[in-house]
Symmetry: C2
Subunit: 330 residues, 2 copies
């Protein structure tokens, strides 16, 4: 049974005490240049700095609601999901352990610890994945998967749910694709509440397992760790649950690294927000989709988050892309 709008509504009520209602922001200059209205749902202002807080908080409060109070919650992640699970567990005073690879940035390890989690560092991702699997067999331990979990998906769907309440009719809603949790939740919400709105996804060209999967009709895995600045979309493959939703997308774009950098620079400059490169992909998807439109449109972009380590930040600003104004007819 696929998820329904009721699941999103329940998630929204459940997580309300633990998350921020994030603002919707516009740039009048960008709207002028493109000739369309672009609305940005600023999930960089979400708890832990990314939409992932929604899915983790929903899963933990759903467990409590169903009288399953784990002795320990665990997760494996080097990024936003680590902080999200640490934060969500701490809200219910449940101990958490996050398995992270040693290459995870110190600032992310610090933040995860600051939310009260025990961080278990291993040499590489293969070992962390093995450790979390092993630990999940312990009695009383609950493993929260970053995307292939119905309550995680329902939680991520609350971003679009909130956005559709905040603004008038929109023609398209664009979000980035890592494991597909955010897009799956966005699809469930949008198809129900605003069926005429197109749902558009984007992933890095250098990590295009979802695009390949959609083309081939079956889940495809990347062969090696992808080389992309969009670190929120480095997932090796989508999940069996999320893939079924992703098939319903109206459009899906693969974004080059230079366009990821281009939009990260421009959105930072125009919106005055600290946004991670994963967010910028959704803007490129909107840009490509708008090229195919004849009339003035209103598009919602879900800015996934604002957690960027120093190395990524340096790479993002190495070359200047602000010399070239964004125009659809250039």
């Amino acid at each position: 049974m696929p998820l329904a709008i009721e699941d999103i509504k329940n998630a929204s009520s459940r997580i309300q005490p633990f998350i921020n209602e994030t603002p919707v922001i516009q740039s009048s200059l960008l709207n002028d240049w493109l000739g369309h209205s672009i609305l940005f749902k600023a999930e960089c202002f979400q708890k832990i700095g990314a939409f992932k807080a929604r899915g983790a908080c929903n899963t933990v409060s759903w467990l409590i609601e169903n009288n399953i109070k784990p002795d320990r919650i665990i997760a494996n992640s080097s990024g936003n999901h680590a902080q999200a699970v640490a934060y969500a567990s701490s809200q219910f005073n449940i101990p958490s352990t996050i398995y992270m690879p040693a290459y995870a940035s110190k600032v992310k390890v610090q933040a995860t610890q600051a939310y009260g989690a025990l961080v278990d560092l291993s040499e590489n991702r293969i070992i962390t994945d093995e450790k979390v699997k092993q630990a999940s067999l312990d009695k009383g331990t609950y493993w929260i998967h970053p995307f292939n979990h119905e309550q995680v998906i329902a939680g991520q769907g609350t971003a679009a749910f909130e956005a559709l309440k905040q603004v008038e009719t929109i023609d398209a809603i664009c979000a980035p694709c890592g494991g597909g949790g955010l897009l799956s939740g966005t699809l469930i919400t949008t198809r129900s509440l605003s069926p005429k709105t197109k749902v558009v996804g984007a992933e890095p060209l250098n990590a295009n397992d979802a695009a390949e999967s959609l083309r081939q009709g079956s889940i495809q895995k990347l062969n090696a760790t992808p080389d992309t600045l969009a670190d929120g979309a480095m997932t090796m493959s989508v999940g069996d649950i999320t893939f079924e939703y992703l098939k319903q997308l109206d459009e899906f774009y693969e974004v080059s690294e230079s366009r990821i950098i281009y939009w990260t620079q421009w959105l930072t400059h125009l919106l005055k927000l600290h946004i991670e490169p994963t967010s910028a992909m959704a803007m490129e998807a909107a840009f490509q989709w708008l090229k195919t439109q004849k009339n003035k449109k209103r598009v919602m972009i879900i800015l996934s988050g604002g957690n960027i380590d120093n190395i990524t930040q340096t790479a993002l600003w190495k070359n200047n892309y602000l010399d070239s104004i964004p125009l659809l007819n250039s």
Copy 2:
């Protein structure tokens, strides 16, 4: 006759249709770490991306109110004042010419032009300053000085005026010092509406003409263009009008380049805002002031703006300062 709170109130009513009421933002993590409440007035979300829109809009609307409609408005600036005057003039359909040095970043020239101004580029700052002086002699031409002008000061004072309406009692208000317009306006507002609140200023150690002037009791000029990333505070000297206000400051701190970078990185990371290094100086002033306090305090920081060119951005993120958590007792 010095300016009074009535001048700030009038400025606030005058500019209301042309500016944004900017939000006040906090970081719970920063508050936890420091043990105080730090409130940030986010002027990076102001029109043109900086508080300067307030002073320019007030001056132009004050001219109109007094039946002085210039044929042309002019200014000399390589930074936020250029965009502010261009924006303010365009709101009243008055042509504007901005004299800028050729080294001004292309993105700032573009933005100034986008607000409808004619940009006159010259080889260096000496020539632009000469040109603007010459042009100001033309009949019907009005020159808006970036800080040493009562209506500019009154306009900048509306940032604190707005902030004091938005939040409960605060113990100190901190702002950066370039020519002193923002601090002068902040002093007038704060002394009147919240006389117990300390007013604290900050300037770059590498451009410490205001600190030197305060020590010597007379206006001191820098000998050469200062080497600082806080490009909003590169002014060679304060003005005779602003200096009289600056003498009333409760504290004034000189901030090293490494502390400017430290706080730019940390505030960007914690607040998820794109803030210019000039803004970060006010946080260091708060940090130094809090070191002298025994009880828990509530401090307001005026984040001056969020316009950063690519070269500055690269310099800001070259080294990683996010490894070292901000703590008062470290």
